[in-house]
């Protein structure tokens, strides 16, 4: 386990009467890709803003590891992000939900401009610009005005701008929002490349399935609280009580199969593309019900997979579970 680079300690944030973040506690480890998942409005962006020191919490603190090149003692200490803004800003790179750059500057000019704001030397700036243009596949577009870039290119330029000063930590807030699957894939590949260079990455996203394969750890944020912080696999193991049966059959009369299953009280099933997905917490029993139906309807199994549900579905199930518990509690209370 690597050392933490950031410590989020008992962070409480309110907007007016509403408490957005309710006492969050977790660490970010150096060199990891940390996923922050939660529904829209759950406080992800607020948390990221607090992490970088832009927004002050009502309670708690965010501490960063003070990396002093010469003084080992100092390098081991943690400082508040709200007290050392100059250092924090040099340490962090932040790509917000909405790409942030000058639309009337060219791609290269944007990188050069933001680089100059970090007081990079001429050579360092030149090197970084070139590296990032290549890394982000923007070399061919370097002379384009930023306002003429496509959505994916905008996102890449934004991340490049966040990386221009070679930060220790990169925060990405919904980096693939509004992007099509191909572009999303492209961005995730970039994130992996950046991480390989040693940059700690914190990603807030609601594309949970994509984070699943990317993040070393994930924090689930719901209604201002961290429900859990663990690896995607651990979370799935912990929360995914149901399993998914992915069935492909011929002639694929799935409506009839669904109707038959519903008669057997297996109602959580749906057609998804060429598959029929049946969710169950007792897959053995489900198979016992399913096969006779398939035989009866003369459906020939062409593919059959049993697995845990995606992170997305885990998240929904967690949400539902919580809701159900809440409702139950409300019903029990006279």
């Amino acid at each position: 386990m690597t050392d933490p680079i950031l410590k989020i300690q008992n962070v409480v944030k309110k907007f007016g009467e509403k408490t957005i973040l309710k006492g969050l506690n977790f660490d970010i480890r150096k060199g990891e890709i940390f996923g922050l998942i939660g529904a829209s409005g759950s406080g992800k962006t607020t948390l990221l803003s607090i992490m970088i020191g832009f927004v002050r919490p009502e309670q708690g603190d965010v501490l960063f590891r003070f990396e002093h090149l010469l003084d080992f003692e100092k390098a081991m200490t943690f400082r508040s992000v709200f007290k050392k803004q100059e250092i924090v800003k040099k340490m962090y790179g932040f790509a917000a939900q909405v790409p942030s750059f000058y639309e009337n500057l060219k791609v290269r000019e944007n990188l050069e401009f933001f680089g100059s704001l970090y007081n990079l030397s001429k050579d360092a700036l030149k090197t970084n610009v070139e590296t990032l243009l290549n890394l982000m596949d923007l070399k061919n577009s370097e002379d384009l005005l930023a306002k003429n870039l496509s959505g994916g290119m905008e996102r890449r330029l934004d991340i490049a701008c966040a990386l221009i000063h070679d930060p220790k930590v990169l925060l990405l807030d919904e980096p693939t929002a509004d992007l099509d699957p191909v572009l999303r894939e492209h961005i995730w590949n970039l994130v992996k490349k950046i991480n390989k260079k040693g940059t700690t990455i914190i990603i807030a996203s609601h594309h949970l399935n994509e984070l699943e394969n990317l993040c070393s750890r994930i924090a689930i944020l719901k209604k201002g609280k961290i429900i859990d912080v663990a690896s995607p696999e651990a979370i799935k193991n912990k929360y995914a009580k149901i399993q998914e049966i992915h069935l492909e059959s011929y002639p694929g009369n799935y409506e009839k199969i669904i109707n038959q299953l519903k008669k057997k009280k297996l109602i959580d099933c749906e057609r998804k593309g060429s598959e029929l997905i049946i969710r169950s917490n007792k897959p053995q029993k489900t198979f016992q019900e399913l096969f006779p139906i398939l035989a009866k309807l003369k459906e020939e199994i062409t593919d059959l997979k049993v697995g845990k549900p995606s992170l997305d579905e885990v998240f929904i199930s967690i949400s539902e579970e919580k809701e159900e518990k809440k409702e139950k509690k409300e019903h029990e209370t006279p």
Partner: protein, 660 residues
Amino acid sequence: MKLLKIISKNFKMLFRAKGSGAIVLFGPLIIILLVGFALNKPSTYELSIGVYATNYNELANSFIGELKNNNYLIQQFDSKEGCIDAIKKSIIHTCIVFPEDFEIAESKTNELKFYVDYSRTNLVYQIIETVSSQIDIRSSELSFEMTNKLLNILTNTNEEVDADILALINLKSATNNIVSEIISIQENMDSIDLKMEETNIKSIKSKFSNIEPLVEDLKDSGEDAISEGREFSEDQGNSSNAGFLGDLDDIEQAINTTFNETSETIKDIEILISNASNKINDIKTKLEKAQKANKNIKSSLENTKDSLDILKEDTNKVKASLESINSGIESIEVKSAESIVSPITTSIEPVIAESTQLNFMFPALLILVIMFIGIMLSSTLVIMEKKSKSSFRTFTTPTKDSLFVISTYITSLILLIVQIIIILILAYFFIKSDLLANFGLTSLILFISMSLFILIGMVIGYLSSTQEATTMLSIAVGSVFLLLSNLILPLETMSDFIRNLTKFNPYVISSEILKKVLVFNIGIKFVIKPLLFLTLGIFILFILIFLFQKISKISYLNKMPHIKRQGLIYIPEDNYLKLGKHIIKNKEEVLTLLKKIDDEEFSEYVSNNQNEIFIWLKNILKEKTLARKIKTKNREDMIKIIDTHLKKEKNKTEKKSKRK
């Protein structure tokens, strides 16, 4: 280094922004060029004047001629209405309506009516002033003629009164003489004694009557004496006595004669006395008459004297009156018609050599350009930065906020300086404005003015939330400064309150001090106070800007988690659509669910009494049209409608991104 990079970025941003580069660079030049063409002429106005008179008589024509002589364009109209309509149609600037029977006559007021378009506030006073002055000139000429006539009459009267006074003096002297004569006559008359002593004719007569007996006595005495003489003689008998006796005889005879004669004489005397008495009585009567007449004459003379005294008094009064008239006339110090008609003449002497209007207006115009460009440029730069996608990124860099403020200020200042230099060069060559005479002070004023207006623009930029609001606010602020200045309406025509406000108007202060320095070439000690005031304004504005920038940044960062992203609406978790165990976050998920569930389940959520999807779409997503479309539809139809809606939305987004 950072500062230079930010300034360089500002320039790139500005010149690459749509149209702003051209406007910023060429805007002021175009303004100055147009104003130059408009005002580069001697200070007279080409005014079109409409005139209407029922009778274009000599007097009316003389007025019209006066106006024509002064290069006004005169249009004669057949009716008053036509003339007034022409103002409304902007064919003419003013309409002069001459009164009916326009002529100079006793007790006749000739009122010339001016019809002006007060909506053209900037021109109307100029029109009234210039046209009225021409009318006044003609009116003065007429006054002059009439006054001259009046003065001639007055001079003649003066001379005649002088003559009359002289005559009166003579008359008075003559009257005095007459009075003296009368007095003398009266005295003489008084000295005439017309009284007659009472002559006692009767006593004379009685005394005369006494004389006769006395004479008789005397005669008797004589006769006795003669008798005694005779007796005596006889007694003596002597011859010598004969003579004696003869003598006695003689004496006796003489006595008898004398007696006789005396008697006769007495008789004569008595007659004479009687006659004399009669005469005396006549005389007395006459004297009495004369006395009466004398008395009457005296009375008449007295009356005459009294009359003469009255005449004298009246003469004195007339004289005094005439003298008063004369002294009145003489006391009129100004006796020339010109001096009376125009007791005070004005002559306008320019404190500097007469020039074109543009020369006089140049400082105000220069500050006008500085004001509008300064405010608009800096406010645009600030709002561009504020609304730029890059705001967030700049916050993440280790750059002091003040650096962005200073860079915006310097960028605006550089641009403004370049423009002002171009304008000044043009002014130097074309308007022949002597800019080098007080170059240091001029530069200082321009620098302070530029800084002030740039900072005002920056405050506007930080206070505004959109580009449109910034532009509107900038124009509004500039317009207020302009309206509360001398350029459109004279400050003197404004209310006290507004006039007091203008003392704090930076445009007024800047243009006034620049005019003083540029046109009148005065020194710094005369403009130091307003300069210090403007400098104080600059400091205050800087403080305000830093404050507003801080607030603006805090507000931006606080809003960050809640911002609506372009093209996507984030629904708070609490507002998700919960249909049974399904949680729906967006329209796509509604469609997926509708496809997933069967009609039986569908009927749990959508029925005649309740349509949760409709309520959610309408109230949460605010998709009122879509909500209305699906309100009474079954599942299949709902799927089709939502599917079509989403496809349309996707097409639109794709088109947008393609355009981008």
